[in-house]
Amino acid sequence: MSLLLVIAAAGLATSSGAWALALRRRPALGQRLATATLVLGAALGVAGALLALAGQGAAWSAAWPTPRGSLSLRLDALSAIFLLPVLGLPALASIYGLGYWPQAARGAASIRLQLAFGLVTGAMALVCVADNAVLFLVAWEVMALAGFLLVFTEHEKPEVQRAAFVYLASAHAGNLALFALFALLGRLAGSFEFAAMAGLDGGGPLAGWVFALALFGFGLKAGLVPLHFWLPGAHAAAPSHVSALLSGVLLKTGIYGILRVTGFFQQVPAAWGAALLLAGAASAVLGVAFALAQHDVKRLLAYHSVENLGIIAMGAGLALLGRSSGNPALVVLGFSGAALHVVNHAAFKGLLFLGAGAVDHATGTRELDHLGGLARAMPFTAAFFLVGAAAISGLPPLNGFASEWLVFLASFHAILGHGAAATPLAGLAAPTLALVGGLAAACFAKVFGTVFLGQPRSPAAGRGHEASPAMLAPMGVLAVACAVIGLLPAAWLPGLVRAAVAWSGLPGPLLAGPAAEAARGAWKVSLVAAALLLGVALLAGWRRLRLGRSQPAAPTWGCGFARPSPRMQYTGSSFAEQLVLRFGWVFFPRTRVEPPTGLFPRRAAFGSHLPDTILDLGILPALGSAVRVTDRLRAQFGGRVQSKVFLVLVGVLGLLAWLALGGPG
């Protein structure tokens, strides 16, 4: 039943774009029907996933005339957790698209977008339930290509072209690693069915290669540092509701892959967990550090995805360490934290991207330091964005705190070392997470403050207007989701624990103790949240009684300066400067300074831009010099058949010599 619902959802989602194509003469109707189909599919699929989370998993299999392939599908609790955002967020984003990206006004580009949008949603759903390596890879490839088409939507812009091609190249580098990964797994298990891969031994050297390939291939998709380089550009280049989908959901398939593959193994070496934890910690800290230095809202949000995927990876790493050190508390808490953060991040990051899209839509700029004062013109967008900002900063009583609290708890359990030896490395997750939380709060105070508070810094910001109901409604739903999960985290724990059992292969009773402890804590978190809300209500009432309705207004206190202008407000860049300075060791900002000179300086200017250290200072220059070298080689040998054959001969001889000298074994 549950699986059937998900299959129906995937089918409806995949075909939803067909309406746009079929009704291209009546674009408004076509888009409405496509959206309705997608929403219907998502509703079915989410229902199926919830059933599976409640313990009603299912499997189904059919023959498929492909070498080693079969149409095997399986829906377990792990798949179900990922299916919730995978189906839910695209549905909301496509409703948003009705107001943000009306097909009637956008023409052919919009039809392509609608097609790819449905396709990517269906493919992601299939990735989450595929139970055969070949099927998985096919769905993965479709997902990657549809993602490319989505990024490529506004292909007339040069920065979009660049970002889309970087995305395509990196996606295929990752796919290559996945082909090797599943070939190895198939060799280890003797079959390409996932069911046959369960219970492998993680000790051998081949298993080590499997994990390394998974970390590379899936890490590239998840955007873990230093494999994040394609992400900020691609997510900033796409239309905002597409960015919400890419950032909120598509990245998670990378995490799903890592979890699925590590779930195949019976015992895992400690090095796996350590590697994942370190990669996560690096992503979290550097992601938020880079985000702090950005001044384009969408690039900033994209870097925050790197941070949040890092937090998820840290949770997963803790769970892996728990498995290798025999610490069930670490397994259940780390895994639950990571899995809940998958859902949470989809909610608040989707919300934030949609909010950023509304701002972009209203003012025509994404440049932080040109915005300001929009809370007056766009009160609902501002309120929803504030909820998302507080949630992503891990502040109670919202959902970001709930999942980070579980990861914190896992980290503290690690240092406690009940039963088994303490795992000091895992303990370091807590201070890292604390630092990241503080930096994220700083960053979102900067974003919210510069975009929505104060006075407009440019005429464009002054012309801002509230978003249409079609755009506001999805944001409202996501904001409510953030609040509900945050207020009642305990309600989710049973499903999460079921997924932890499915993933780790540990017996349920072993995990029940720490799970019960977490549940007790989670209910008390809800209690404190209730006390907080009660306190807010009482204090607000007292304040209203004291002040009454009429409140005298005056200009902001200018500290004695009588004529301040909006341009004199603190900007986002200056707000973050002190913190950005702390990261001078990874940042290489390019600044342009024209200092004021002379007694009555006419003009002075300052501009700064922060290139991505990995992409702009590492990979692109390296590729550039590689191209130069090959160009020179081609100039040397090019044109003549003789020299080309000579090169081939040298290559073949080299391979033979390598084989003769011992080869790969």
Binding site: G373, I415, A442, A445, L532, M568, Y570, S574, Q578
Partner: protein, 302 residues
Amino acid sequence: MILAVLQLLAFLALPPLLLGVIGRVKARVAGRVGPPLLQPWRDLRRLAGKGAVFSRTTTWVFRAGPVVGLAAVLAAGLLVPMGAPSSALSFAGDFALLAGLLGLARFVSVTAALDTGSSFEGMGAAREVTFAALAEPALFLGFLSLVRSTGGLDLSHLLGDGLAAAWQSDGPALLLVALSIFVVALAENARLPVDDPSTHLELTMVHEVMVLDHSGPDLALIQYGAALKLYLFGALVVKLALGARFADPAAAFVAFLCGQLLFAAGIGVVESTMARLRLSRVPQLLVGASVLSGFALVLLLR
């Protein structure tokens, strides 16, 4: 049970007294008489009775700041043991919620400051988030050390029963932790040497400059909240220093209150003898605090 209620009542009533003690100690060191100990209470009552003026730039965010900020600190009071053997609500990982609630209070006060559009308040807000982000790891490293040393996961154990054995075996490491938490307390409560609460030069202030535009009852809420926060951090330091030295709960409660007064007096002495650090030097101090508690953790893990 009586003590559990009493500690919450003391939490509501006593914090302004700490500010009074600090003021009095500073005055005495400087050779003045100083204001009466209850002056902070009178200030609060005076502010609460006044009307308020609002900047035309501000929105509801500005008005929500003081309310949510105070409610968050009040809720945090449920999590910290303040004299009684256990806090009102104690559960594994409650210190993470404590840090989260204090973070919420900070977040709303920062957004309220940015809502005025004043560059001075923006400056203060930027400094506040910078220092807070750097203080956070120090606090968590301290908690980690305590978890490691006492073998518990909730504040009531970390700062209560668990400490008796811990001071016996890991005294030096706990001393480092206490020092580190004291530094964090100074930074989080905007005291010297991080911030000078008595200065009136906007360019050099951190916390005070953020609340320039608040007036009347809103300012009363903010100042009361600041006092409560000081009391919370005082509770952490005092409980940690006291350990489980007093077996009788009533004696322990009295000792705790005396400890809070000593904590306030200690801050008064620090403020009388130290100058404010240059702003660019503050991160050094906070990273130093992290290093101290991290070092303690390494000693405990060895």
